[in-house]
């Protein structure tokens, strides 16, 4: 039996426990809301994070290419990057998947037979952490970009009116000397 097959059987339980790791980073009242409100528009944070984690877990178990993790990671990290948490906390949930998987394997008492496959899977999870950190930084840089762009949008007409900016004309046909 392959490791991915074994984990696929345990997938729903791993996903819920993994989701719970993220929920634990929120206050108790909030955790309750994020967990129980199923409407994706009434609870966009809970829904987006859960859906993203499900995609990541499925991707890991089916051996998807790394690029396929970009969107679900981005969806989750984009939210976490503007919440009351440190950068480490924003990406830490991915590392916790390693612990959850090892716990499942210990329960099945077949850790030794999967050690090589497990090592590869854990390497991939480590790569996802690095990807997440890049996304986190992009989001934070975007916040500064937004501030700068908004100032431009608010004042561009004013600068134009004051003749402080001008746009370069289309170059005319080249003239021969």
């Amino acid at each position: 039996m392959k490791l991915s097959n074994l984990l696929s059987e345990k997938r729903p339980a791993i996903l819920e426990r993994w989701f719970d790791v993220v929920l634990e980073t929120y206050p108790a009242d909030t955790k309750n809301f994020l967990q129980k409100q199923n409407n994706q528009f009434a609870n966009p944070v809970g829904h987006t994070i859960h859906q993203g984690m499900e995609s990541i877990l499925n991707g890991l178990l089916s051996g998807s290419d790394l690029q396929e993790f970009s969107t679900p990671l981005d969806n989750i990290i984009r939210i976490r990057a503007v919440q009351d948490i440190a950068a480490s906390q924003a990406v830490a949930f991915i590392l916790s998947l390693k612990k959850l998987i090892r716990e499942e394997l210990e329960k099945s008492q077949r850790m030794d037979s999967f050690i090589k496959e497990l090592s590869l899977l854990e390497d991939k999870i480590d790569t996802l952490v690095l990807m997440s950190f890049d996304i986190y930084m992009q989001c934070r840089e975007k916040i500064y970009d937004l501030k700068a762009n908004e100032t431009k949008r608010l004042t561009y007409r004013l600068l134009q009116r004051a003749n402080l900016v001008c746009e370069v004309e289309e170059p005319g046909p080249q003239q021969n000397d």
Partner: protein, 539 residues
């Protein structure tokens, strides 16, 4: 984002679970990008607000006046006596929790103090401790608290994390209007000089110059002339609007932001083109040059003072009625307060469209009509020639602004216009539009830039619904009838749903409007090339 301050040896000790303290025992922590700068003393002094001083929320010492507790408690007593609604809202909440998960700031942040019930409790706990017998005797058992500097800081942090959008009140079985509780909280803090720079500045400018940006008459005129040049480039038609013209039939008032801030400027161009095409007998005013009212975010009295210029100017010019541009809070202030503050406007007539003859009975008393009502009526009577295909490059959804939708029920008119000027329109999901619309996350003076992280949190529920229609239907434009929306949703879309632009409804009208004698349009209102038409359809 919290600032990273842990030393290496502390790293292993980081706990990822939040503190398990009660809300009353969890002091507020001021985080960068989450709050606005404080108001400048000169701005407060200009309008006679007390205790202007240099201070910052991050300082331990807020330089409060010595008797600040006395001022706040006396202020609370006065407001409780003045507004029955405030007294009622302090007493009747049964903490059922129906409002708890309806606030965009709670949904986006996960911070329990952003639950409307808990945000209100920040004020209620002090009310109980000082104004109710049970609270005075039983103290904590009755949910009472003393007014301390810590509590005051909590008020300041969280009452400036509420945009007074009133979504929570839609779901409250008692109809408690949490926006009014925030208003009271802000008014109390204003009594001891705790105001935002982004509010104080526009209020002072509006008081001195007539508009939030502090534009003087010649600047207003020349900025509009700048639009006229663009319109001439676009259509070949030279428009000559009038300013401060006595005897005009209609006075047009709009938010000043649309005169300078993109993309609102394109909406202003849309107004100019529409009025020219109709041959409307109207005038702009360089005195009543602001439809918005940031005074509304400080105190009732200040809002009233800033609003007074609108009727005064209408009277001076001798107009028959007033037409208002696309704005959100402007319309809550105008439709729900102006008449009782500064009316009766009995020197004007009941608004009647000179083009269709429609009498706007809904504005019989206040004498002011929203441009969405006016334009929808024109379309309904086939008074406009429109080429919808000029908007074919746009796949549009509509964001109901909180104040126009929940505040005054302006739900159908903007949609009717959009459907008549665009071929591609898709609604967002039912629980995110109309009365249940999600706020842009930046209203009530929170549209500063220094609090961008807060704005992104608060804007997420709205953006999430936009993302849904963007992915499902290819929506690429978020239309709205609010100047603050136009200014702030652009940033929100840029962060959450790149690829979706923002525009006022009358920018779309301007695109589609076939004007008499116009040259063939090759550009849209933004002077960008019009994509090749897929086939024109005239209405």
């Amino acid at each position: 984002m919290a600032k990273f301050s842990a030393k290496p040896k502390d790293l292993a000790k980081i706990r990822y679970t939040p503190p398990k303290t009660e809300w009353t025992e969890t002091p507020v922590e001021f985080r960068e990008h989450m709050f606005c700068h404080s108001a400048k003393p000169k701005d407060l002094e200009t309008v006679g607000f007390p205790y202007g001083r240099a201070w910052s929320a991050k300082d331990d010492d807020w330089k409060l006046p010595d008797n600040w507790e006395q001022i706040i408690l006396q202020g609370m007593k006065d407001l409780l006596g003045k507004y029955r609604s405030f007294q009622l809202f302090m007493d009747i909440c049964v903490r059922c929790g129906a409002c708890a998960d309806k606030c965009h700031f709670f949904i986006g942040s996960g911070d329990p103090k952003n639950m409307p019930v808990l945000r209100a409790e920040l004020l209620r706990s002090v009310y109980r401790g000082n104004f109710t017998l049970a609270g005075k005797i039983l103290r904590k058992l009755a949910g009472a608290r003393d007014l301390t500097v810590g509590v005051l800081k909590e008020w300041w942090y969280y009452f400036y994390q509420c945009t007074e959008c009133r979504r929570c009140s839609v779901f409250c079985p008692y109809g408690i209007d949490t926006a009014e509780i925030t208003m009271m909280g802000r008014e109390l803090m204003n009594m001891i000089g705790l105001q935002l720079g982004w509010i104080g500045g526009p209020v002072a400018a509006c008081y001195m110059k007539g508009n939030h940006l502090g534009l003087e008459p010649h600047t207003i005129k020349s900025s509009i002339e700048f639009f006229l040049d663009d319109i001439e480039t676009l259509t070949g038609i030279k428009i000559e609007p009038s300013f401060n013209r006595k005897g005009a039939e209609i006075l047009f008032v709009t938010p000043s932001g649309d005169l300078f801030a993109n993309p609102g400027t394109y909406t202003a161009m849309g107004y100019l083109m529409l009025f020219h095409e109709l041959g409307l007998d109207y005038t702009w005013s360089t005195y009543a040059s602001e439809g918005g009212n940031f005074g509304f975010f400080t105190s009732n009295e200040m809002a009233k003072r800033l609003n007074s210029k609108i009727y005064a100017e209408a009277k001076r010019l001798g107009v028959k009625w007033i037409l208002g541009g696309e704005c959100g809070h402007m319309w809550r202030v105008l439709s729900q307060y102006m008449d009782t503050w500064n009316g009766p406007a009995d020197f004007m007539e009941v608004p009647k469209s000179p083009i269709t003859g429609t009498v706007f009975d809904n504005a019989k008393s206040m004498k002011m009509v929203h441009i969405a009502e006016f334009t929808a009526d024109l379309i309904k009577h086939n008074k406009l020639k429109l080429d919808k295909s000029r908007n074919d490059h746009l796949n549009v959804t509509f964001h109901d602004s909180c104040n126009t939708s929940r505040g005054m029920g302006l739900l159908e008119e903007p949609r009717y216009i959009i459907n008549n000027v665009c071929n591609h329109f898709h609604e967002m999901p039912e629980n995110t539009i109309r009365e249940k619309t999600f706020c842009c996350g930046s209203g009530t003076g929170l549209n500063a830039s220094e609090n961008m992280e807060l704005r992104m949190r608060g804007g997420f529920p709205r953006a999430n619904a936009v993302k849904y229609v963007h992915e499902r239907y290819g929506v690429n434009l978020l239309a709205n009838v609010c100047a603050i929306d136009r200014a702030t949703l652009s940033a929100s879309m840029d962060y959450w749903v790149p690829g979706v632009g923002v525009a006022g409804v009358h920018e779309l009208v301007g695109n589609a409007l076939i004007m008499k004698g116009e040259k063939e349009r090759t550009q849209d209102m933004r002077l960008e090339p019009l994509p090749e038409k897929e086939g024109s359809e005239n209405v």
